[in-house]
Amino acid sequence: MLSRVADASFWMGRYLERAEHVARVLEVTRAILIDLEQVDPDAASKQWQGALAALGLPDDSTEKLIFDQSTPTSLVCAISLARENARQVREVISTDMWEHLNQAYWSLHEAHARGVHESQLSQALNGIVTASLLWDGVADGTTARDEGWLFLKLGKFVERLDVTSRLIATRTETAVRATSPSSENVYWIALLRCLCSMEAYKKVHPQRVERRHVIDFLLFDAHFPRTVRYASTVAADFAKRLAEIHGARGKGVERAFGKLDARLEFTDVGEVERQGTPEFLRQLLEELTEACGLLQKSYFLQ
């Protein structure tokens, strides 16, 4: 496969995953603020700012965060970049994948053109979450499990690993500073919902939401696809499968992702808390950046 195409497949996966996170976090946080503003206005603004910081978004109106093309981290930019990358590999991905992504892109522009009203913001955000979920299905259902698919999926799970870690890191930082236990509880619920994990978490921990359990679940649960551990396992698996195709060229990448996954496998929540959760995640993200650098060197820069 062309190096440029491998590169674009990887980033198509990343940007679409990013779009889904941006959309979901904005939508969930907006809903939570309605409750929180009644109880604790100060906590509400922290909640909002924390969410934006984790996604690299500026403190701006929701409308701008969704539609502003000059904000590089906005939702419309993530979707546009996913689509630009898809266009570069148009002959490699299936027509269904392209049409589906293209539809999501146009529907976002149409929503903007229709004029911006509160309910429409929600609709636009939900539309992107759904589009991303459906796109996964379309991709899985219409693509051969070849190199292109591996790069695409690797991009997707690298991004999930990245965003999830960042969200947990900022939340653990803000939560430590929370004033009352009731608002702290709201933080953890918000975090679970931003990561689409509330229901899955409750199945494992049906009692009242608690910090330690939430961190344990979101970092280390190996079975739920939205956790850090799950994403790292999938990424390591895809890096390994890429190495099987490419031989010696892919060994370094395989090792880097494998090490990262092993670290998560053999660490427990007690250790993480002793070290400090944000610090643990900072190191993890550093390792991830290194692994991605290696990926780029081995496959994308020929």
């Binding site: 440029r4 148009r90 496959y299 994308f300």
Partner: protein, 481 residues
């Protein structure tokens, strides 16, 4: 659609009946459905100047254009003959130059053509084929005969639009497809692939074909990706290619991989910065040397532009007689060549009645339609012709055939032309139909998409006319409306 006497041509009766049954909202719904299908499939073209919307949905008109099988056979034979002569002309011009020495074509016109590439002199491309993919523009004259308006032998675009138009129309007008036996277009990508494999230099089992595109911001990128996909070829950009040890290779995740055939959609000037424009980043340094050494094939060959130069065009019928000893099956539009003294005199006296074309311009630019011009424009062109006669030709203004077209939700007549595609491989083949371009502005004769033109599907009918609807077609009606 109509005969000279104003009656409906027999092949159009079923379509006319179907259109008469449709209410204006139904017509509009057809148009909207077509637009939506095209937009979601990403069938767009790029407008460079308009910042607000860089991508525009391709202007498609859902009313099909019909051509009978018998008429088509004649067109097909004529095109094969013409393309054969054009390839022989190119081989001659870059080789022995017999046609110039015999005085059939004026050497000055050949050397003065902007598409002439002296770098090609003395080089015979694989299988002696210069132009593998040709798009010839045809128009109907007052008597309904097809005439050749222009040859496009460099790297004509539009074939993907033909394929997409067909897919869309199958969903918009299902019933009509069942009534008419329409010749399918499904073979185009296979034929294209065969034509490219025909010139592969290595005896490899499976030669590697790539399509070289200027990239996703090029106006025809949609076409490049579609053709690459349908052919199973790799779509590359200049930056994906590198020449090592005299071979062209592409950069892959496995390292460098050898390339055998390049279907290039990059202009001659940009192919290789070492030989052509030094500032080009769309091509690949060393590509032309590799091509000359025979390690890689290019389709179409560089320098083919000399054959579709507007000043060479008037000589194509003579080429056919010269090389093939046959009479041309398809005739040219009567053309006056400004560099000939008699013709120039005629042109200057009749500017107001003629269509004047600059020989090195295309896309509807550099053109004056005398009957629709102002006195100043005519003076301007007179001056330009006198200053540089080599650069101008003139043709009588032909009223292009009009065809029913949806305009603002209603049917109205608009001018159309036809661009069929010819593929030169072991055999020379023509896809049944082609791109019908339509001038969407009322009264306009210019069909180019850069000048407000749109497209239609073209149906070549296998049988004599329409069949009566079968029972199945009746039940399909609910799907259609």
């Amino acid at each position: 659609m109509f005969t000279a006497e104003g009656g409906v041509r027999p092949e159009y009766r079923a379509l006319a009946q179907r259109l008469a049954e449709m209410t204006p909202p139904e017509v509009e719904q057809r148009q909207r459905l077509a637009d939506l299908l095209l937009r979601n499939q990403g069938v767009t073209f790029t407008v460079y100047s308009d910042n607000a919307g860089i991508e525009k949905v391709f202007p498609f008109d859902p009313i099909p254009r019909l051509i009978t099988g018998a008429e088509w056979q004649n067109v097909e034979r004529g095109l094969v003959q013409r393309v054969e002569a054009l390839n022989l002309f190119l081989r001659d011009v870059y080789g022995e130059q017999r046609i110039l020495n015999d005085g059939v074509v004026d050497a000055g016109l050949v050397y003065g053509a902007s598409g002439f590439r002296r770098e090609m002199i003395g080089m015979l491309p694989p299988q002696g084929v210069y132009t593998h993919i040709v798009g010839t523009d045809l128009i109907r004259d007052e008597n309904g005969r097809f005439l050749v308006l222009e040859d496009n032998v460099r790297s004509p675009s539009g074939a993907s639009y033909v394929l997409e138009c067909r897919e869309v129309l199958k969903r918009v007008f299902r019933v009509l497809f069942e009534q008419y036996g329409v010749m399918p277009l499904d073979d185009y990508a296979d034929w294209l692939r065969e034509a490219l494999l025909h010139v592969a230099p290595r005896a490899a089992d499976e030669p590697t074909i790539v399509l070289l595109s200027p990239g996703m911001y090029n106006s025809a990128y949609f076409e490049h990706s579609l053709l690459a996909r349908r052919m199973g070829a790799t779509l590359v950009e200049g930056r994906d290619l590198v020449v090592t040890d005299g071979a062209v290779c592409m950069r892959t995740t496995h390292g460098l991989r050898r390339v055998d055939v390049i279907y290039r959609r990059v202009d001659d000037d940009y192919l290789d910065p070492v030989v052509f424009r030094p500032d080009s980043i769309l091509g690949c340094a060393g590509l032309f040397a590799a091509y000359r050494s025979g390690s890689v094939a290019l389709a179409n060959a560089p320098g083919t532009g000399v054959a579709d130069d507007k000043a060479i065009y008037p000589f194509v019928p003579d080429m056919i007689r010269y090389y093939l000893g046959e009479e041309p099956i398809l005739e040219n539009v009567k053309t006056y060549i400004a560099s000939r003294e008699d013709d120039r005199k005629y042109i200057l006296e009749h500017v107001g009645e003629l269509c004047i074309k600059q020989t090195d311009a295309s896309g509807g630019y550099g053109m004056l339609i005398g009957t629709q011009s102002t006195a100043e424009q005519r003076d301007e062109f007179r001056r330009r012709i006198q200053a540089d006669p080599r650069n101008y030709i003139a043709q009588p203004v032909i009223s292009l055939g009009k065809h029913p077209t949806i305009v603002d939700g209603k049917l109205d007549g608009r001018c159309v032309d036809l661009r069929p595609y010819v593929l030169v491989g072991e055999k020379v083949r023509v896809i049944p139909g082609g791109l019908t371009r339509v001038a969407l502005r009322k009264g306009s004769l210019v069909v180019n998409s850069s000048q407000g033109g749109g497209y239609k599907d073209t149906w070549v009918l296998a049988g004599a006319g329409a069949r009566t609807p079968s029972k199945g077609a009746d039940s399909a009606r609910s799907v259609e409306s």
